[in-house]
């Protein structure tokens, strides 16, 4: 413990001015953005553009996106401990940190969205309903955070060379258990939140949980790769070898193919829908929501094309492919949540509308800045694999 605090102090002392300025800017954005969320907490969501007709907005899209992003750590953990890919070790802790922060972000989206977050904290112990997918998935996030927290602790121990063989075994077990837990419980049930809603044509499909799993793997893994590329660039040294980048690109290709496969056939079937609501959903997607639809599908296809070629699986190629993947999946989350609700439940209501305004966008940007700030500080103070390795050589 003493050694760890010494390590933290050393790192802070070694921080340069650019790092402090970067952190300061993030903190200012976070405070300004989140102050809007504090206002909504005090006086209600009246200023937002959500309505009784379109009750879920940007925060729920954010929840779906952030939860997806947490899948990266599971894959990296499995590669290291399950498949013995030691070359992924340098990104092990970073991947877990990203996953933990993603879940933290997702839970904050829920807290910013609900009308009474203080009461929501009574879930799952004082308030519960086992038939509610919202209850199941939000409870599962806590379990996932516990698993990831334990994994982080063990990984840090291993990195610092303080782990016993029992610790290593435990780390391996945690990394392996995390995979079915994340895929079957966390991501599938998040998809099921929407899948069970028979009132909304676009959501009510058994494909949704599967889609959430594949898109989570694609976005989570893309995030880990993107951070690896950016970190390599900042430190002016490759965090992992070119071979590992190539392997990362291959895996991303696989996840993208699975996501695109489900998307394409889901949309083809939707465009032939037997119901009027289904057809109207299709018309909305290819009409008012054409831009996000194109970003989603076009983005996935472009990213897939980049990583399909060996030349694209270099740090530069991966930088483009992963950024495009993340953008495409953000667009998908916007589409699924917004378009899913925009078909009026009574045709007499006319057309519905949901365009998030500054009161929703600002807290969201503030939250992203806060997550980036926490990540920057934690990667600075924690003994990460690459830093420890560098200090040893």
């Amino acid at each position: 413990m003493k050694e760890l605090s010494g390590h933290i102090r050393e790192n802070i002392a070694g921080s340069n001015r650019i790092f402090y300025v970067y952190c300061f800017i993030l903190l200012v954005i976070a405070v300004v953005g989140l102050s809007q969320a504090v206002k909504s907490l005090a006086f209600g969501h009246g200023h937002s553009t959500m309505s009784d007709m379109v009750p879920w907005g940007m925060y729920i899209s954010g929840l779906a996106f952030f939860i997806g992003c947490s899948a990266g750590a599971t894959m990296v953990g499995l590669l290291i401990h399950g498949f013995g890919r030691e070359d992924y070790h340098p990104v092990g802790t970073r991947a877990i940190l990203l996953a933990l922060l993603s879940i933290f972000g997702a839970m904050n989206c829920v807290m910013m969205d609900v009308g009474n977050p203080f009461r929501a904290m009574k879930i799952p112990f004082l308030l519960r309903n086992e038939t509610s997918m919202f209850f199941i998935s939000s409870s599962s996030y806590m379990g996932f955070m516990t698993i990831l927290g334990a994994e982080l602790f063990m990984t840090i121990k291993i990195t610092r060379g303080k782990a016993s063989s029992r610790d290593k075994l435990l780390a391996k077990l945690l990394a392996i258990v995390a995979v079915p837990y994340a895929l079957v419980v966390v991501h599938s049930f998040t998809g099921t939140i929407f899948g069970v809603v028979k009132a909304r044509e676009m959501w009510n499909t058994p494909l949704l949980p599967i889609h959430f799993v594949t898109s989570a793997l694609a976005s989570g893994f893309a995030l880990v790769i993107l951070v690896t590329v950016i970190t390599s660039w900042i430190h002016n040294k490759e965090l992992v070898s070119m071979d590992t980048f190539n392997h990362m690109g291959f895996l991303l290709l696989f996840f993208l193919i699975a996501t695109v496969f489900i998307d394409v056939f889901d949309y083809i079937i939707l465009s032939y829908s037997a119901t009027e609501e289904g057809m109207e959903t299709w018309h909305l997607l290819t009409g008012r929501y054409l831009v996000t639809f194109l970003i989603n599908m076009g983005g996935l296809f472009s990213a897939l094309t980049i990583v399909a070629f060996k030349k694209g699986r270099t740090p530069r190629g991966l930088l483009y492919a992963t950024s495009i993947t993340l953008l495409a999946i953000v667009a998908y989350r916007i589409n699924i949540i917004s378009v899913g609700q925009l078909v009026p439940l009574y045709p007499e209501l006319g057309e519905l509308e949901y365009i998030p305004n500054i009161h929703e966008v600002a807290p969201f940007i503030g939250l992203v800045a806060l997550l980036m700030f926490i990540y920057a500080v934690l990667t600075k103070v924690l003994p990460l694999e690459d830093k420890v390795h560098a200090s040893h050589t």
């Binding site: 006086f43 959500m50 009308g115 009474n116 009461r119 038939t131 009574y346 045709p347």
Partner: protein, 305 residues
């Protein structure tokens, strides 16, 4: 006195935390902190400032309603009366009962069209001037036999009572709006703003709500469980609405449901709505009342649409 002290303390804490602020900004911050502290205590304790005893479910009863579209003239008296009866604040728009105007002419909806999942394709309007060449259709909570809203609620804040009424426990609602997303009938309303009802209009039998909770039609539980009928039934000038016990084969609702003209909304979804509609049999003379104007400013409707 105690609450005043606490309030002052919160303000002081807020001021101390923002020492450099100008007095006006500081008081705005104090107001925010005060509102959050109030929400926190209300949220945790679950009290909403007005003790109201909800009567227990009526043994052996299963409540339901029938609305005769042949008799509804779209005057919205039901909607307005419901709003007053249930302490629904002005910030909730539309109220619990929406009276939709369909492009069908009276007599045009026929029984063979059941189930009327999508009974009209066009762009009808929610609130317009009364037109004799149009049909009107009031919609509200159907108190479904198998309600999707209660299944998805993470806290059991909404639940099905033994007498068929789908209830709300405002003290458990976290305002996640999952029930709203899951309800196929657009029956639920969220308190986007702090709900305010002028004191002289408050019905003491109905609890007041907080901002951030969901509410909806309760089949006037404070009346119906005490042997009275719902307020909307009383308010309808053409007696288009009938309320009663579906378990009693001799009740007026049971007899009307048996009619060939009866149908329910979106039966394909297997929610088992407990409101039946009667199609318009033929053009028949009715008394037409002037509609009650309700603010057209409804959140979520596309203005150009």
């Amino acid at each position: 006195m105690r609450s005043l002290d606490r309030r002052q303390l919160i303000k002081l804490a807020a001021l101390a935390g923002t020492g450099a602020f100008l007095p006006r900004q500081a008081s705005a911050v104090g107001e925010i902190f005060e509102a959050i502290a109030k929400k926190m205590s209300e949220g945790i304790k679950g009290t909403i400032g007005q003790e109201v005893e909800t009567p227990l479910p009526v043994k052996g009863a299963r409540f339901g309603m029938v609305i005769d579209l042949g008799l509804c003239i779209g005057c919205r008296r039901c909607s307005y009366a419901c709003k007053l009866e249930n302490n629904v604040p002005d910030t909730i728009n539309p109220p619990y009962i929406m009276v939709l105007e369909t492009k069908y002419k009276p007599g045009q909806i026929i029984a063979e069209e059941q189930p009327m999942k999508n009974h009209v394709n066009g762009n009808g309007l929610l609130y317009t001037k009364l037109r004799r060449d149009r049909m009107y259709m009031p919609v509200q909570c159907n108190h479904c036999a198998d309600p999707p809203c209660t299944k998805v609620c993470p806290t059991k804040a909404t639940y099905k009572s033994p007498d068929g009424i789908v209830m709300m426990d405002y003290n458990k609602c976290i305002g996640c709006r999952y029930c709203m997303a899951a309800c196929p009938y657009n029956a639920r309303r969220f308190n986007w703003w702090k709900p305010e009802v002028s004191p002289e209009k408050i019905n003491p039998l109905v609890p007041l709500r907080l901002d951030g909770v969901v509410e909806k039609c309760t089949f006037c539980v404070h009346r119906t469980r005490r042997g009275r009928t719902t307020r909307c039934v009383e308010a309808c000038p053409n007696k288009a609405r009938t309320f009663g016990n579906l378990n009693d084969p001799e009740s007026a609702v049971s007899k009307l449901i048996a009619s060939e003209r009866s149908f329910r909304l979106k039966v394909g979804l297997n929610t088992g709505p407990q409101i039946w509609y009667l199609t318009h049999p033929k053009e028949k003379p009715m008394i037409w009342y002037k509609p009650i104007p309700i603010s057209p400013d409804i959140r979520g409707l596309r203005k150009s649409g």
